[in-house]
Subunit: 310 residues, 2 copies
Amino acid sequence: MTNSITNLFNIQYPIVQGGMIWVSGWKLASAVSNAGGLGLIGAGSMYPEVLREHIQKCKKATAKPFGVNVPMLYPQIEEIMNIIVEEEVRIVFTSAGNPKTWTSFLKDKGITVVHVVSSVTFAQKAEAAGVNAIVCEGFEAGGHNGREETTTFTLIPMIKQNVSIPVIAAGGIANGRGMLAAMVLGADGVQIGSRFAATVESSAHKNFKQVIIDLKDGDTQLTLKELAPVRLVKNHFYHQIQELYQQNPTIEQIKELLGRARAKKGMFEGDLDNGELEIGQIAGIINKIKPASQVLKDIVEEYNTVKSSL
Amino acid sequence: MTNSITNLFNIQYPIVQGGMIWVSGWKLASAVSNAGGLGLIGAGSMYPEVLREHIQKCKKATAKPFGVNVPMLYPQIEEIMNIIVEEEVRIVFTSAGNPKTWTSFLKDKGITVVHVVSSVTFAQKAEAAGVNAIVCEGFEAGGHNGREETTTFTLIPMIKQNVSIPVIAAGGIANGRGMLAAMVLGADGVQIGSRFAATVESSAHKNFKQVIIDLKDGDTQLTLKELAPVRLVKNHFYHQIQELYQQNPTIEQIKELLGRARAKKGMFEGDLDNGELEIGQIAGIINKIKPASQVLKDIVEEYNTVKSSL
């Protein structure tokens, strides 16, 4: 499976574990890296010193390459970036912001930089900013998402036509068939989120893991488009948002309902009614909590089996 | 390429041309069938006697199997179904309605019936109603679409897990890579719309064909969700809809803006500002008007080339 992505990160399989808030700590990231993929610590839900602790524990738990995902809207972004440099993290995935802002800073320190995009325009901007690769994330992905609502199936070929750097497909991929389909569409690697959220090593609350196992098609929806579009499970909180929309609310009213710490409440504390539960459409085919290493093994096996059968 | 779909329809390639309103008349359907795919006449935009004429002309233009697509919300549906039987059409694709209503009637006449679905539940209902196969159509498809907003990439495996009849994937497929990816995800065949809308034999107005060629990612959006969700080009009419939404309109106000014959105006008469232009996200990779036979040939060639290269 050697290709531009395995070479870029010096890993065995071109499989990246998405750096999800409240789900991807050092346990999950190191388990994925130890199994031959690229594990990512999700910095978006961590205070700076918590991130430092996760990085240090991850370094102890694996000798393999791992990375950190940083949403660039993070308030203490400078502190986060300095910790990443101080702790000698070698790979950073940036998302939700302008790739120009931090790419040079990180690359000057010898750090490999990948930026997450949801459109051709942002892919071209990321390439121009000098990133080493891009994640192109489709509409079906969980959590925050692009305004254009372009799906993985159409986004991969459109981006592939328009950039020269390696492309990692994300959104809707949870097994070997999905990985192979993404590669057929032109991807050089895949980033997998939801499937890794339902692993033993994921920091997701057990209630949330059970939700992922139970979800069917149509059980998630992209909402809160006036703030930042996000794909959520249609739970009580989601329905509260929809009821508010019936009343033609102001942005302030929406923000007030959203409040604070909804994502933590749902995904980390397991409040399935009042929490924000971010997961992708592909949860509909996930039906078992497994160790992360088993997830990787199953994906690679199915990928090879289906490929040989064509 | 012999499989359950080529056997079901007695065709050379498991490629169906979508029966699009205002676009798929006898010229396009017969051209696709003559080239080894399955051409479909789109009855949704035809008066009953116009449909009869198209069927008769199609029979003269090809000795190969072809079919008719019938949206079941069509007001004169009984007249349409009787014409289909009288003219001895052998294949019918039904959409937008309950598959129970007409499947037995058609199957009793020896007609092969396929139903278009956008969710696992509807797929199971169609199977229970006795259809011979289903089209599973993702969120990225042009025109009318499911409320669940499930994408092709995730819909195919979820439906494949839950039905035993053959599955035809639709939405986002316009070339050989797309076809192969759909088959890898579990599809037995593909239905292709947008790519065939931009062919020489398509009845789309030349202005609309040029729009398809020019479109980029993010240029279409699913809208009119209160009535029936439909993916449209973001033209002047689309923006009028969005402006109306800012005013918290009633369903009646939305219906009044929509008015009548918007689809004909846009797609058939070429009024790009005031017409409704239905096309899929994958239009972003379509950059040339070609004969339908060339489209099929290119898809099959790319499919085989990519497959061999894996």
